[in-house]
Symmetry: C2
Subunit: 429 residues, 2 copies
C-alpha cells in the first residue's frame, strides 16, 4: 500500500521514498550508494580538497547569446542511419531518447524527417493558401496568422515507421534507433478549424489535402472531421520559433496521428470531396498485409511504450542494488492510463509510477524504482491508454498484420540485461 | 456567453472562433487579413510563381547533429544589461520573453544569473555532501543520484530582482529587461526530501544551508519545512542535461521561491538549527522598508503577470482590426486562477483566456483576442492566483514597501501603445 504511486502528484509516497534504500537490505544510504564520509573510508579528494572550480572564476556567459549543451554531452545528438535513406536530403534524424529525461524534447535534438532537404523560407516570403471547395479562397501571410486566436498544447510527433525494423525481429541495438523517430514539444499556433471556418468549407468538402513549400511538397489527405478537431497551424515549439528543419516558419500539427501528416513549411490546404491518394499515402504509409492487400488511412498512433534506461546505449553502470527504470509511453487516442513493467520478459508485471498527470496525445514519463539483484533481466514495458487499449506483443501484432509492414509497429520492446548491466535488443516468445 | 473561454480545453469556443474576424466589421476573412485571392487584387508572386525553395533541394540536416535556431531568429537571444553588474563573470542574462510563446523556455535562451562565472564540472568530478545535524553524513556521486527515485515537474525560476528597476518608475523599455529574469523549464531529478531522509535529519535540524561548487558558493538558508516539501535535486531540464550555465551537472530547484535559492553546481547541504545569515540573505535579497528596517526571508514569489506582445520590442505590425494580446502569469503560491487584461490603464478589465490548465508554480500563458480600433491603448494585465491573491498596482506596493527595495516588485505593468502600434513602458496612476 505504501509503495503505491501517488497519482495526484506523480511522486512516490513519503513512506516509499523513506524506505527506498533501506529495503535494499544494505546498511545506511551512503554506504549503499558508495558514499564515503559515513564509513571512514579513504577520504575522497573531491570532497576534502579545494578544487580548481572553487578557487578561480568560471567563464562569463555573455559570449554565447544562444547557449549550447556542455561538451561533456556531445554524444546526446540526433542521429541518422546512413543506409536507411538514399541521400542526406531525404533523411531521418532520431531523437537520443536514451539520454533524455522528463517528457519535453529540445528542438535541437528532436526527431525530424525531410524528403527534399530543409528549406530556408522567411516569414516575409511565407504564404498559406486555402483553396478548393470553400466559399472564400484565402491567402494568409505569416503576419495574418499571428492576428488570429492562438492556442498552445503539447503533442508527440511519431513517424509511422518508428520501430519499423522490428517487424522482422530484433535488429537495431539502440533505443534511439528502435524508438527515436518521435519528439514531444509544446506547440503554439492557430487552430486549423479557425482558418477553415474563415474560408467557409462547402458541404461537399469532406477532406483536406495539405502540401509543403519544399520541392517534395509531401502532400497528404486528412478527413475533414480531424481537420476540424484538434489540428494546429503551428509557428512556435517549446516557446521559440520552429527550427528550419522543423518547418520554419509554419508547420501542421496533427495530434495523435502519424508524423508524415505534420507537413512542414505548410503552403497550401486544399478542400476536396475525397482523398487525393498521393504517393505518400499509396506507395508509402500503407501497411501490406499477409494476403497481399494493404491497410490504408492508418493515421492514428496506437498506445506504445519503451524503457529508455537501461537500454543498449544506457547500460547499468553500477552493481546490484537500487536503480531507476525510466521510460516513455504515449497514445494517439488520448491519455495514458497506466504503464506496467516486467523484469522477466512478461511473466510478471508491476505498475510503474507516472511522472505527472498524463497529457492528451503527449509523451508520459514512467519510472519503476527497482532493487536489482544482479541477475540478468528481460525488461519490458506495456502501456494501457484511457480507452482500455493494451499495447500488444510483437507476436500478437504479427499474427494479425504479418511481417510485410514497415509502419505502425507498437509491439512491446524487450531489453535483455546481463549480469554486467549491459542491455541488448532481443525478442522473447 | 459564446465568447467566453472554454476553461476545459483552453481554446476559444467554436462559435467565438468562427465569428472572430467577422465581428471586426470587415468583409471576408481573407480581405480583413490582407489576403489576395478572394479580392481579385494584384496577384501575389509568392503564390502565383514557383519559388526557388520549391524548385531545388533544400539542405541536408545531418551536418548539424545538434540544431540551432534559423538565422532569421538571431535576435531571439538572452541578453545582459552591461551597467547592471560589475563584470561578465558576475552577470545576468535575460530571457527574450517578448519573442517567445507558450510556456516553456528553451535552455539556450533561458534566464540565468551567475556570481563568479559558469564552471565546468564533470559528472565524474561531481560530489554532493550532506553534513551537520544528521544521523548519517553522506556523500553522493552523480551516479548515486541517478539510482534514487526520480521526479519530473515544470517550475518557473524568477530572480527576486526581476522588475526591480520599476520601483523607481518606468525605466527599461523592453519586457525582456523589465520581466525577463525568469524561465520556465521541465526539471527532472530527485526529491531533496529523499536525500534528507536518507541522511536522517536530527530533531534540532530546522534549517538547511545550500552551497554551490563555484568560487562564490552563493550560500542560502532554507527552512526545513520547505526543504522537505517540494525542493528537487535536478539534473535535467527540458529533457536534456542542464546546460553549464544552468548548473551542470546538478542544481537545486525550489519551486515558487526566488531564483537565488536555486543553487547551481550544488555541492553541499548543511543541516543546522538556525539560518546562517549569509551575505546573500543579509546584504542582498532583503527589502529595505521606508522606516529603515528590512524585510528578510522573503522567498516566495507572489502572483505576477505581464503582456509580452505587444510590448516595446514587439510593436503591432499591422493596422486596426484583429490582434492577439499575449502574456505570461505565474505565482509562487500554486496555480494561476485568472488573468484580467485592460486596454485603458485599469479602468475596465476583461478576463483573458488561459492557454491550458495552469500548472502549480509554473508559467501560464494567457491570450486576449482583441479587435483594435487603432486608438492608443494603456495595456495592463493582472493575475489572480488560487489563494485569491490579486496582483497589486505599483503604487499599492510602494504604499506599503516604499521605494528603497530592489526585490519582489510584482506590480502591474503598463505599456502605452500609440496609434502606430509602438509600445512604451509607462506608469499610470
Amino acid at each position: 500500500m505504501s509503495d503505491m504511486p501517488n497519482k495526484a502528484t506523480g511522486q512516490p509516497s513519503a513512506h516509499s521514498r523513506r524506505a527506498f534504500l533501506r529495503t535494499a537490505g544494505l546498511a545506511a544510504g551512503g554506504a549503499a550508494l558508495g558514499g564515503g564520509v559515513a564509513r571512514g573510508a579513504t577520504p575522497d579528494p573531491l570532497i576534502t580538497e579545494v578544487q580548481p572550480w572553487a578557487m578561480f572564476l568560471g567563464e562569463g556567459v555573455d559570449a554565447t547569446p544562444y547557449g549550447m549543451p556542455i561538451h561533456f554531452e556531445d554524444h546526446v545528438v540526433r542521429r541518422n542511419v546512413e543506409w536507411l535513406t538514399a541521400d542526406p536530403v531525404s533523411s531521418i534524424n532520431f531523437t537520443p531518447i536514451h539520454a533524455l529525461e522528463g517528457t519535453i524534447t529540445p528542438q535541437g535534438c528532436a526527431f525530424e524527417r525531410h524528403h527534399s532537404g530543409a528549406i530556408e523560407l522567411s516569414k516575409e516570403d511565407y504564404r498559406l493558401m486555402i483553396t478548393g471547395l470553400v466559399e472564400r479562397p484565402l491567402v494568409f501571410t505569416y503576419g495574418d496568422l499571428t492576428r488570429m486566436p492562438r492556442i498552445t498544447r503539447t503533442a508527440f510527433c511519431e513517424c509511422a515507421a518508428n520501430s519499423g525494423m522490428e517487424w522482422g525481429g530484433a535488429q537495431l541495438n539502440a533505443v534511439q534507433f528502435t524508438h527515436g523517430m518521435i519528439h514531444n514539444m509544446e506547440y503554439t499556433g492557430v487552430s486549423l478549424r479557425t482558418l477553415l471556418n474563415e474560408a467557409g468549407v462547402k458541404p461537399e468538402g469532406t477532406w483536406i489535402y495539405v502540401e509543403g513549400a519544399d520541392a517534395s511538397s509531401n502532400g497528404r489527405s486528412i478527413p475533414m472531421e480531424k481537420a476540424l478537431d484538434d489540428c494546429m497551424i503551428a509557428f512556435h515549439a517549446n516557446g521559440e520559433a520552429l527550427r528550419m528543419e522543423h518547418g520554419y516558419p509554419v508547420r501542421l500539427v496533427v495530434p495523435g496521428w502519424e508524423g508524415n501528416l505534420w507537413v512542414k513549411w505548410l503552403r497550401r490546404i486544399g478542400v476536396h470531396d475525397g482523398p487525393i491518394e498521393s504517393r505518400e499515402e499509396t506507395s508509402k504509409y500503407t501497411d501490406l498485409l499477409p494476403e497481399g492487400r494493404a491497410r490504408k488511412w492508418t493515421w492514428e498512433m496506437h498506445a506504445k511504450s519503451v524503457i529508455t534506461s537501461p537500454s543498449p546505449q544506457m547500460p547499468i553502470s553500477h552493481g546490484p542494488g537500487p536503480m531507476v527504470i525510466s521510460g516513455l509511453a504515449w497514445t494517439g487516442r488520448g491519455k495514458i492510463d497506466r504503464v506496467d513493467v516486467s523484469i522477466d520478459g512478461g511473466m510478471n508485471w508491476q505498475t510503474a509510477r507516472l511522472a505527472g498527470e498524463p497529457g492528451s496525445k503527449a509523451l508520459t514519463r514512467f519510472y519503476l524504482d527497482h532493487i536489482w539483484d544482479g541477475e540478468p533481466m528481460f525488461l519490458q514495458s506495456r502501456a494501457i491508454d484511457e480507452t482500455g487499449y493494451v499495447q500488444p506483443s510483437k507476436d500478437q501484432l504479427r499474427a494479425i498484420r504479418g511481417v510485410n509492414s514497415i509502419y505502425h509497429n507498437n509491439g512491446i520492446q524487450t531489453w535483455y540485461v546481463n549480469a554486467r548491466g549491459e542491455a541488448e535488443n532481443v525478442e522473447v516468445s
